[in-house]
Subunit: 214 residues, 2 copies
DNA sequence: GAAAGTATGTTGTAATTACAACATTTTGGG
DNA sequence: CCCAAAATGTTGTAATTACAACATACTTTC
Protein backbone atom coordinates (compact mmCIF):
# COMPACT_ATOMS: atom_id res chain seq x y z
CA UNK A 1 0.00 0.00 0.00
CA UNK A 2 1.27 3.45 -0.94
CA UNK A 3 1.57 4.96 2.51
CA UNK A 4 3.36 8.13 1.36
CA UNK A 5 0.25 9.55 -0.34
CA UNK A 6 -1.83 8.81 2.76
CA UNK A 7 0.83 10.36 4.93
CA UNK A 8 0.42 13.68 3.15
CA UNK A 9 -3.39 13.57 3.20
CA UNK A 10 -5.54 15.97 5.21
CA UNK A 11 -6.98 13.08 7.19
CA UNK A 12 -3.67 12.13 8.77
CA UNK A 13 -2.33 15.62 9.22
CA UNK A 14 -0.58 15.81 12.60
CA UNK A 15 -0.19 12.04 12.90
CA UNK A 16 3.21 10.37 12.80
CA UNK A 17 4.13 7.23 10.86
CA UNK A 18 3.49 4.86 13.76
CA UNK A 19 0.09 6.36 14.49
CA UNK A 20 -0.88 6.22 10.82
CA UNK A 21 0.07 2.55 10.58
CA UNK A 22 -1.99 1.77 13.64
CA UNK A 23 -4.92 3.79 12.37
CA UNK A 24 -4.86 2.03 9.01
CA UNK A 25 -5.08 -1.26 10.83
CA UNK A 26 -7.78 -0.03 13.23
CA UNK A 27 -9.89 1.32 10.34
CA UNK A 28 -9.53 -1.89 8.33
CA UNK A 29 -7.77 -0.12 5.49
CA UNK A 30 -8.21 -2.08 2.28
CA UNK A 31 -6.80 -1.20 -1.11
CA UNK A 32 -8.47 -1.97 -4.40
CA UNK A 33 -7.65 -1.26 -8.04
CA UNK A 34 -10.22 -0.31 -10.67
CA UNK A 35 -9.97 -0.05 -14.44
CA UNK A 36 -11.13 3.05 -16.25
CA UNK A 37 -14.90 3.09 -16.46
CA UNK A 38 -15.42 0.66 -13.57
CA UNK A 39 -18.15 1.54 -11.11
CA UNK A 40 -16.97 1.92 -7.52
CA UNK A 41 -20.31 2.84 -5.96
CA UNK A 42 -23.81 2.87 -7.38
CA UNK A 43 -26.65 5.14 -6.39
CA UNK A 44 -28.68 3.59 -3.59
CA UNK A 45 -25.77 1.75 -1.98
CA UNK A 46 -25.01 2.21 1.68
CA UNK A 47 -21.45 2.43 2.91
CA UNK A 48 -19.43 3.39 5.95
CA UNK A 49 -16.21 3.58 3.94
CA UNK A 50 -14.24 6.76 3.67
CA UNK A 51 -12.49 6.49 0.31
CA UNK A 52 -9.07 7.81 -0.60
CA UNK A 53 -7.59 8.00 -4.09
CA UNK A 54 -3.95 6.88 -4.07
CA UNK A 55 -3.64 6.78 -7.87
CA UNK A 56 -5.71 7.88 -10.85
CA UNK A 57 -9.02 9.67 -10.47
CA UNK A 58 -12.74 9.05 -10.10
CA UNK A 59 -15.89 10.98 -11.00
CA UNK A 60 -18.78 11.49 -8.62
CA UNK A 61 -21.77 11.58 -10.92
CA UNK A 62 -25.48 11.15 -11.33
CA UNK A 63 -26.83 9.10 -14.21
CA UNK A 64 -30.51 9.33 -15.01
CA UNK A 65 -32.62 6.71 -16.74
CA UNK A 66 -32.16 8.35 -20.14
CA UNK A 67 -28.38 8.04 -19.93
CA UNK A 68 -27.71 11.68 -19.13
CA UNK A 69 -24.69 12.08 -16.91
CA UNK A 70 -24.04 14.92 -14.50
CA UNK A 71 -20.55 15.10 -13.01
CA UNK A 72 -20.58 16.65 -9.54
CA UNK A 73 -16.92 16.32 -8.83
CA UNK A 74 -13.71 14.86 -10.11
CA UNK A 75 -11.64 13.39 -7.30
CA UNK A 76 -7.93 13.04 -7.96
CA UNK A 77 -4.90 11.50 -6.31
CA UNK A 78 -4.59 12.49 -2.67
CA UNK A 79 -8.27 13.37 -2.23
CA UNK A 80 -11.21 11.74 -0.48
CA UNK A 81 -14.73 10.87 -1.53
CA UNK A 82 -17.90 9.38 -0.01
CA UNK A 83 -17.09 11.04 3.32
CA UNK A 84 -20.69 12.23 3.76
CA UNK A 85 -22.10 8.77 3.28
CA UNK A 86 -19.42 7.19 5.43
CA UNK A 87 -20.27 9.51 8.31
CA UNK A 88 -24.04 9.19 7.92
CA UNK A 89 -24.11 5.43 7.49
CA UNK A 90 -27.86 5.04 7.11
CA UNK A 91 -28.14 7.42 4.15
CA UNK A 92 -28.15 5.67 0.77
CA UNK A 93 -25.86 7.22 -1.82
CA UNK A 94 -27.49 9.63 -4.25
CA UNK A 95 -24.59 9.35 -6.69
CA UNK A 96 -22.53 6.90 -8.67
CA UNK A 97 -18.76 6.90 -8.39
CA UNK A 98 -16.81 5.75 -11.45
CA UNK A 99 -13.15 5.33 -12.28
CA UNK A 100 -12.27 8.21 -14.63
CA UNK A 101 -8.93 6.50 -15.26
CA UNK A 102 -7.31 3.34 -13.94
CA UNK A 103 -7.14 4.04 -10.24
CA UNK A 104 -6.36 2.72 -6.79
CA UNK A 105 -8.65 3.38 -3.83
CA UNK A 106 -8.06 2.85 -0.13
CA UNK A 107 -11.21 2.18 1.90
CA UNK A 108 -11.34 3.15 5.58
CA UNK A 109 -14.12 1.93 7.86
CA UNK A 110 -15.77 4.81 9.70
CA UNK A 111 -17.81 2.31 11.71
CA UNK A 112 -14.51 1.48 13.41
CA UNK A 113 -14.06 5.05 14.67
CA UNK A 114 -15.85 4.09 17.90
CA UNK A 115 -13.05 1.68 18.77
CA UNK A 116 -10.40 4.38 18.83
CA UNK A 117 -9.37 6.10 22.03
CA UNK A 118 -10.88 9.53 22.65
CA UNK A 119 -7.76 11.52 21.92
CA UNK A 120 -6.98 9.88 18.59
CA UNK A 121 -10.61 9.91 17.54
CA UNK A 122 -11.10 13.60 18.20
CA UNK A 123 -7.93 14.48 16.28
CA UNK A 124 -9.26 12.40 13.40
CA UNK A 125 -12.70 14.01 13.60
CA UNK A 126 -11.13 17.46 13.47
CA UNK A 127 -9.37 16.46 10.25
CA UNK A 128 -12.58 14.96 8.87
CA UNK A 129 -14.24 18.30 9.56
CA UNK A 130 -11.67 19.98 7.34
CA UNK A 131 -12.35 17.46 4.59
CA UNK A 132 -16.13 17.91 4.64
CA UNK A 133 -15.84 21.69 4.90
CA UNK A 134 -13.61 21.88 1.86
CA UNK A 135 -15.91 19.52 0.02
CA UNK A 136 -18.71 21.95 0.76
CA UNK A 137 -16.82 24.73 -0.97
CA UNK A 138 -16.20 22.43 -3.92
CA UNK A 139 -19.88 21.66 -4.28
CA UNK A 140 -20.69 25.36 -4.00
CA UNK A 141 -18.16 26.12 -6.71
CA UNK A 142 -19.89 23.80 -9.13
CA UNK A 143 -23.16 25.59 -8.44
CA UNK A 144 -21.56 28.84 -9.59
CA UNK A 145 -20.13 27.16 -12.66
CA UNK A 146 -23.56 25.93 -13.70
CA UNK A 147 -25.43 29.06 -12.60
CA UNK A 148 -25.07 31.07 -15.83
CA UNK A 149 -27.93 30.33 -18.19
CA UNK A 150 -25.75 30.29 -21.26
CA UNK A 151 -22.98 27.94 -22.23
CA UNK A 152 -20.38 30.67 -22.67
CA UNK A 153 -21.07 31.99 -19.18
CA UNK A 154 -20.65 28.54 -17.68
CA UNK A 155 -17.38 27.95 -19.48
CA UNK A 156 -15.98 31.31 -18.35
CA UNK A 157 -17.15 30.78 -14.76
CA UNK A 158 -15.35 27.47 -14.67
CA UNK A 159 -12.16 28.60 -16.40
CA UNK A 160 -11.91 31.65 -14.15
CA UNK A 161 -12.07 29.46 -11.06
CA UNK A 162 -9.32 27.19 -12.36
CA UNK A 163 -7.23 30.18 -13.39
CA UNK A 164 -7.47 31.67 -9.89
CA UNK A 165 -6.62 28.32 -8.28
CA UNK A 166 -3.56 27.86 -10.46
CA UNK A 167 -2.47 31.51 -10.22
CA UNK A 168 -2.08 31.66 -13.99
CA UNK A 169 -3.94 32.56 -17.15
CA UNK A 170 -2.61 29.36 -18.70
CA UNK A 171 -3.40 25.95 -17.23
CA UNK A 172 -4.57 22.39 -17.81
CA UNK A 173 -8.02 21.23 -16.78
CA UNK A 174 -8.67 17.70 -15.51
CA UNK A 175 -11.66 17.11 -17.80
CA UNK A 176 -11.90 15.95 -21.38
CA UNK A 177 -14.67 17.51 -23.51
CA UNK A 178 -17.37 15.02 -22.60
CA UNK A 179 -16.57 15.29 -18.90
CA UNK A 180 -16.49 19.08 -19.00
CA UNK A 181 -19.85 19.06 -20.78
CA UNK A 182 -21.29 16.73 -18.15
CA UNK A 183 -19.82 18.86 -15.37
CA UNK A 184 -21.26 22.09 -16.80
CA UNK A 185 -24.54 20.39 -17.68
CA UNK A 186 -24.44 21.15 -21.38
CA UNK A 187 -24.29 19.14 -24.61
CA UNK A 188 -20.82 18.10 -25.67
CA UNK A 189 -21.32 19.32 -29.22
CA UNK A 190 -22.61 22.66 -28.01
CA UNK A 191 -19.59 22.95 -25.72
CA UNK A 192 -17.16 22.22 -28.56
CA UNK A 193 -18.96 24.71 -30.76
CA UNK A 194 -18.91 27.42 -28.12
CA UNK A 195 -15.20 26.86 -27.41
CA UNK A 196 -14.52 27.39 -31.11
CA UNK A 197 -16.52 30.62 -31.12
CA UNK A 198 -14.74 31.86 -28.02
CA UNK A 199 -11.41 31.29 -29.73
CA UNK A 200 -12.59 33.17 -32.83
CA UNK A 201 -13.78 35.98 -30.54
CA UNK A 202 -10.31 36.11 -28.98
CA UNK A 203 -11.48 35.25 -25.46
CA UNK A 204 -9.47 32.09 -24.97
CA UNK A 205 -7.06 29.74 -26.64
CA UNK A 206 -7.23 26.03 -26.10
CA UNK A 207 -5.87 22.79 -27.36
CA UNK A 208 -7.12 19.55 -25.83
CA UNK A 209 -7.26 20.21 -22.10
CA UNK A 210 -4.77 23.08 -22.09
CA UNK A 211 -6.42 26.50 -21.81
CA UNK A 212 -5.34 30.12 -21.89
CA UNK A 213 -7.55 33.05 -20.96
CA UNK A 214 -6.78 36.18 -23.01
CA UNK B 1 -32.24 35.26 23.41
CA UNK B 2 -34.35 32.27 22.43
CA UNK B 3 -32.35 29.52 24.07
CA UNK B 4 -34.94 26.79 23.47
CA UNK B 5 -34.32 26.71 19.70
CA UNK B 6 -30.58 26.55 20.27
CA UNK B 7 -31.06 23.84 22.84
CA UNK B 8 -32.67 21.59 20.24
CA UNK B 9 -30.07 22.32 17.59
CA UNK B 10 -27.61 19.77 16.26
CA UNK B 11 -24.70 21.87 17.47
CA UNK B 12 -25.60 21.53 21.13
CA UNK B 13 -26.78 17.96 21.01
CA UNK B 14 -25.55 16.17 24.13
CA UNK B 15 -24.93 19.41 26.04
CA UNK B 16 -26.99 20.36 29.09
CA UNK B 17 -28.46 23.81 29.84
CA UNK B 18 -25.51 24.93 31.95
CA UNK B 19 -22.97 23.90 29.35
CA UNK B 20 -24.94 25.61 26.58
CA UNK B 21 -25.09 28.87 28.54
CA UNK B 22 -21.35 28.75 29.14
CA UNK B 23 -20.69 27.93 25.51
CA UNK B 24 -22.84 30.81 24.29
CA UNK B 25 -20.79 33.12 26.44
CA UNK B 26 -17.47 31.58 25.41
CA UNK B 27 -18.39 31.83 21.72
CA UNK B 28 -19.51 35.47 22.05
CA UNK B 29 -23.06 34.63 21.02
CA UNK B 30 -24.74 37.72 19.59
CA UNK B 31 -28.28 37.97 18.31
CA UNK B 32 -29.41 40.25 15.52
CA UNK B 33 -32.72 40.85 13.75
CA UNK B 34 -33.08 41.45 10.00
CA UNK B 35 -35.99 42.63 7.91
CA UNK B 36 -37.10 40.72 4.84
CA UNK B 37 -34.72 41.42 1.99
CA UNK B 38 -31.86 42.59 4.20
CA UNK B 39 -28.40 41.33 3.31
CA UNK B 40 -26.67 39.41 6.10
CA UNK B 41 -23.47 38.55 4.22
CA UNK B 42 -22.14 39.69 0.87
CA UNK B 43 -19.93 37.76 -1.49
CA UNK B 44 -16.27 38.45 -0.74
CA UNK B 45 -16.73 38.99 3.00
CA UNK B 46 -14.68 37.03 5.46
CA UNK B 47 -16.20 35.72 8.67
CA UNK B 48 -15.54 33.34 11.49
CA UNK B 49 -19.18 33.36 12.60
CA UNK B 50 -21.26 30.23 12.64
CA UNK B 51 -24.82 31.47 12.07
CA UNK B 52 -27.99 30.01 13.52
CA UNK B 53 -31.52 30.92 12.49
CA UNK B 54 -33.75 31.30 15.57
CA UNK B 55 -36.70 32.80 13.65
CA UNK B 56 -37.65 33.31 10.01
CA UNK B 57 -35.48 32.12 7.15
CA UNK B 58 -32.62 33.19 4.91
CA UNK B 59 -31.51 32.34 1.40
CA UNK B 60 -27.95 31.47 0.47
CA UNK B 61 -27.62 32.79 -3.04
CA UNK B 62 -25.36 33.99 -5.79
CA UNK B 63 -26.16 37.20 -7.64
CA UNK B 64 -24.32 37.94 -10.86
CA UNK B 65 -23.67 41.34 -12.37
CA UNK B 66 -26.74 41.10 -14.62
CA UNK B 67 -29.07 40.65 -11.66
CA UNK B 68 -29.59 36.93 -12.10
CA UNK B 69 -30.08 35.17 -8.80
CA UNK B 70 -29.27 31.56 -8.03
CA UNK B 71 -30.56 30.22 -4.73
CA UNK B 72 -28.30 27.49 -3.36
CA UNK B 73 -30.17 26.85 -0.17
CA UNK B 74 -33.00 28.10 1.97
CA UNK B 75 -32.09 27.98 5.65
CA UNK B 76 -34.99 27.90 8.07
CA UNK B 77 -35.56 28.14 11.80
CA UNK B 78 -33.32 25.79 13.74
CA UNK B 79 -30.69 25.47 11.00
CA UNK B 80 -27.17 26.78 10.53
CA UNK B 81 -25.42 28.60 7.71
CA UNK B 82 -21.94 29.92 6.85
CA UNK B 83 -20.36 27.00 8.72
CA UNK B 84 -17.86 26.38 5.94
CA UNK B 85 -16.62 29.95 5.96
CA UNK B 86 -16.60 30.09 9.76
CA UNK B 87 -14.37 27.02 9.88
CA UNK B 88 -12.07 28.12 7.06
CA UNK B 89 -11.68 31.70 8.21
CA UNK B 90 -9.36 32.85 5.43
CA UNK B 91 -11.72 31.89 2.63
CA UNK B 92 -13.86 34.79 1.34
CA UNK B 93 -17.54 33.97 0.91
CA UNK B 94 -18.62 33.01 -2.59
CA UNK B 95 -22.27 33.70 -1.80
CA UNK B 96 -24.65 36.31 -0.50
CA UNK B 97 -26.97 35.54 2.40
CA UNK B 98 -30.29 37.42 2.47
CA UNK B 99 -33.27 37.47 4.80
CA UNK B 100 -36.06 35.61 2.97
CA UNK B 101 -38.43 36.81 5.71
CA UNK B 102 -38.02 38.89 8.83
CA UNK B 103 -35.57 36.81 10.81
CA UNK B 104 -33.36 36.53 13.85
CA UNK B 105 -29.83 35.19 13.66
CA UNK B 106 -27.45 34.14 16.42
CA UNK B 107 -23.75 34.52 15.57
CA UNK B 108 -21.18 32.26 17.20
CA UNK B 109 -17.46 32.97 16.98
CA UNK B 110 -15.54 29.95 15.75
CA UNK B 111 -12.27 31.77 16.40
CA UNK B 112 -13.10 31.32 20.08
CA UNK B 113 -13.14 27.53 19.74
CA UNK B 114 -9.44 27.46 20.68
CA UNK B 115 -10.24 28.81 24.14
CA UNK B 116 -12.45 25.87 25.04
CA UNK B 117 -11.14 22.90 26.96
CA UNK B 118 -10.30 19.82 24.89
CA UNK B 119 -13.26 17.74 25.97
CA UNK B 120 -15.89 20.39 25.25
CA UNK B 121 -14.23 21.38 22.01
CA UNK B 122 -14.08 17.89 20.63
CA UNK B 123 -17.75 17.28 21.47
CA UNK B 124 -18.57 20.49 19.65
CA UNK B 125 -16.41 19.57 16.67
CA UNK B 126 -18.16 16.23 16.40
CA UNK B 127 -21.49 18.06 16.20
CA UNK B 128 -20.07 20.50 13.66
CA UNK B 129 -19.05 17.51 11.58
CA UNK B 130 -22.68 16.39 11.50
CA UNK B 131 -23.75 19.86 10.41
CA UNK B 132 -21.27 20.08 7.54
CA UNK B 133 -21.94 16.52 6.45
CA UNK B 134 -25.67 17.13 6.23
CA UNK B 135 -25.04 20.37 4.42
CA UNK B 136 -23.06 18.38 1.89
CA UNK B 137 -26.06 16.19 1.18
CA UNK B 138 -28.20 19.30 0.82
CA UNK B 139 -25.87 20.80 -1.75
CA UNK B 140 -25.76 17.47 -3.59
CA UNK B 141 -29.56 17.39 -3.62
CA UNK B 142 -29.73 20.72 -5.38
CA UNK B 143 -27.37 19.41 -8.02
CA UNK B 144 -29.85 16.64 -8.77
CA UNK B 145 -32.73 19.09 -8.87
CA UNK B 146 -30.96 21.21 -11.47
CA UNK B 147 -29.47 18.27 -13.39
CA UNK B 148 -32.41 17.64 -15.76
CA UNK B 149 -32.06 19.74 -18.90
CA UNK B 150 -35.73 20.57 -19.07
CA UNK B 151 -37.88 22.58 -16.73
CA UNK B 152 -40.41 19.82 -16.15
CA UNK B 153 -37.67 17.41 -15.16
CA UNK B 154 -36.25 19.86 -12.66
CA UNK B 155 -39.64 20.51 -11.10
CA UNK B 156 -40.34 16.80 -10.74
CA UNK B 157 -36.88 16.09 -9.33
CA UNK B 158 -37.41 18.75 -6.69
CA UNK B 159 -40.99 17.81 -5.83
CA UNK B 160 -40.07 14.14 -5.53
CA UNK B 161 -37.34 14.95 -3.02
CA UNK B 162 -39.72 17.02 -0.91
CA UNK B 163 -42.38 14.35 -1.15
CA UNK B 164 -39.97 11.70 0.11
CA UNK B 165 -38.78 13.95 2.94
CA UNK B 166 -42.32 14.67 4.09
CA UNK B 167 -43.51 11.09 3.61
CA UNK B 168 -46.52 12.33 1.68
CA UNK B 169 -47.72 13.06 -1.84
CA UNK B 170 -49.15 16.31 -0.55
CA UNK B 171 -46.96 18.97 1.03
CA UNK B 172 -45.98 22.62 1.24
CA UNK B 173 -42.74 23.89 -0.21
CA UNK B 174 -40.75 26.71 1.42
CA UNK B 175 -40.32 28.66 -1.83
CA UNK B 176 -42.55 31.15 -3.60
CA UNK B 177 -42.52 31.05 -7.42
CA UNK B 178 -39.61 33.43 -7.90
CA UNK B 179 -37.52 31.62 -5.29
CA UNK B 180 -38.31 28.22 -6.76
CA UNK B 181 -37.35 29.51 -10.21
CA UNK B 182 -34.06 30.85 -8.83
CA UNK B 183 -33.42 27.58 -7.01
CA UNK B 184 -34.07 25.47 -10.11
CA UNK B 185 -32.20 27.94 -12.33
CA UNK B 186 -35.09 28.66 -14.68
CA UNK B 187 -37.16 31.70 -15.64
CA UNK B 188 -40.06 32.45 -13.33
CA UNK B 189 -42.52 32.79 -16.20
CA UNK B 190 -41.36 29.52 -17.73
CA UNK B 191 -41.79 27.85 -14.34
CA UNK B 192 -45.33 29.17 -13.93
CA UNK B 193 -46.16 28.09 -17.44
CA UNK B 194 -44.76 24.61 -16.95
CA UNK B 195 -46.62 24.17 -13.66
CA UNK B 196 -49.85 25.01 -15.49
CA UNK B 197 -49.10 22.44 -18.18
CA UNK B 198 -48.26 19.82 -15.59
CA UNK B 199 -51.61 20.39 -13.96
CA UNK B 200 -53.42 20.09 -17.31
CA UNK B 201 -51.45 16.89 -17.94
CA UNK B 202 -52.65 15.56 -14.60
CA UNK B 203 -49.18 15.17 -13.11
CA UNK B 204 -49.60 17.47 -10.15
CA UNK B 205 -51.99 19.80 -8.45
CA UNK B 206 -50.83 22.99 -6.82
CA UNK B 207 -52.08 26.17 -5.34
CA UNK B 208 -49.56 28.72 -4.11
CA UNK B 209 -46.89 26.75 -2.31
CA UNK B 210 -49.06 23.69 -1.63
CA UNK B 211 -48.37 20.79 -3.97
CA UNK B 212 -49.79 17.34 -4.62
CA UNK B 213 -48.15 14.72 -6.82
CA UNK B 214 -50.69 12.54 -8.65
C1' DG C 1 2.60 2.83 -40.43
C1' DA C 2 -2.16 1.16 -41.49
C1' DA C 3 -6.44 0.21 -39.38
C1' DA C 4 -9.65 0.62 -35.86
C1' DG C 5 -11.28 2.98 -32.27
C1' DT C 6 -11.92 7.09 -29.62
C1' DA C 7 -12.19 11.99 -29.02
C1' DT C 8 -13.28 16.35 -30.83
C1' DG C 9 -15.24 19.67 -34.14
C1' DT C 10 -19.05 21.22 -37.36
C1' DT C 11 -23.53 21.85 -39.10
C1' DG C 12 -28.63 22.01 -39.60
C1' DT C 13 -33.16 21.45 -37.67
C1' DA C 14 -36.50 20.75 -34.11
C1' DA C 15 -37.44 21.72 -29.54
C1' DT C 16 -36.92 24.53 -25.57
C1' DT C 17 -35.98 28.56 -23.04
C1' DA C 18 -35.26 33.64 -22.23
C1' DC C 19 -37.32 37.79 -22.15
C1' DA C 20 -40.66 41.27 -22.42
C1' DA C 21 -45.18 42.72 -22.08
C1' DC C 22 -49.34 42.27 -20.18
C1' DA C 23 -53.48 39.93 -17.59
C1' DT C 24 -55.10 38.12 -13.48
C1' DT C 25 -55.04 36.95 -8.69
C1' DT C 26 -53.68 37.57 -4.01
C1' DT C 27 -52.15 40.29 -0.10
C1' DG C 28 -51.80 43.90 3.17
C1' DG C 29 -52.87 48.40 4.64
C1' DG C 30 -55.83 52.18 5.34
C1' DC D 1 -64.31 47.09 1.75
C1' DC D 2 -61.35 49.36 -1.42
C1' DC D 3 -56.99 50.42 -3.20
C1' DA D 4 -52.23 49.78 -4.16
C1' DA D 5 -48.69 46.72 -4.36
C1' DA D 6 -46.99 42.38 -4.87
C1' DA D 7 -47.20 37.79 -6.68
C1' DT D 8 -48.53 34.69 -10.13
C1' DG D 9 -50.21 33.33 -14.70
C1' DT D 10 -50.32 33.83 -19.90
C1' DT D 11 -48.71 34.70 -24.39
C1' DG D 12 -45.69 35.66 -28.42
C1' DT D 13 -41.17 36.20 -30.38
C1' DA D 14 -36.22 36.05 -30.50
C1' DA D 15 -32.44 33.56 -28.95
C1' DT D 16 -30.38 29.39 -27.38
C1' DT D 17 -29.89 24.60 -26.78
C1' DA D 18 -30.66 19.56 -27.74
C1' DC D 19 -30.00 16.15 -30.76
C1' DA D 20 -28.59 13.71 -34.68
C1' DA D 21 -25.57 13.05 -38.26
C1' DC D 22 -21.38 13.47 -40.03
C1' DA D 23 -16.34 15.23 -40.64
C1' DT D 24 -11.90 15.52 -38.85
C1' DA D 25 -8.17 14.65 -35.68
C1' DC D 26 -5.80 12.11 -32.52
C1' DT D 27 -4.44 7.32 -30.18
C1' DT D 28 -3.61 2.77 -29.75
C1' DT D 29 -2.59 -1.63 -31.28
C1' DC D 30 -1.05 -4.93 -34.18
Amino acid sequence: MDISVLHNSILFKGFDDTEISELLKALNAAEKKYNKGAMIFSSGEITDKLCFVTAGSVTVESNDMWGNRTILNLVGKGQFFAESYALLPDVPMLVDVCAAEDCTIVFLSMKSLVNLNDMIRSRLLANLLTITTRKNLHLSSRSFHTAPRQVRGRIMAYLNTVSVQKHSREFDIPFDRQQLADYLNVERSVLSNELSKMQKDGLIRCRKNHFEII
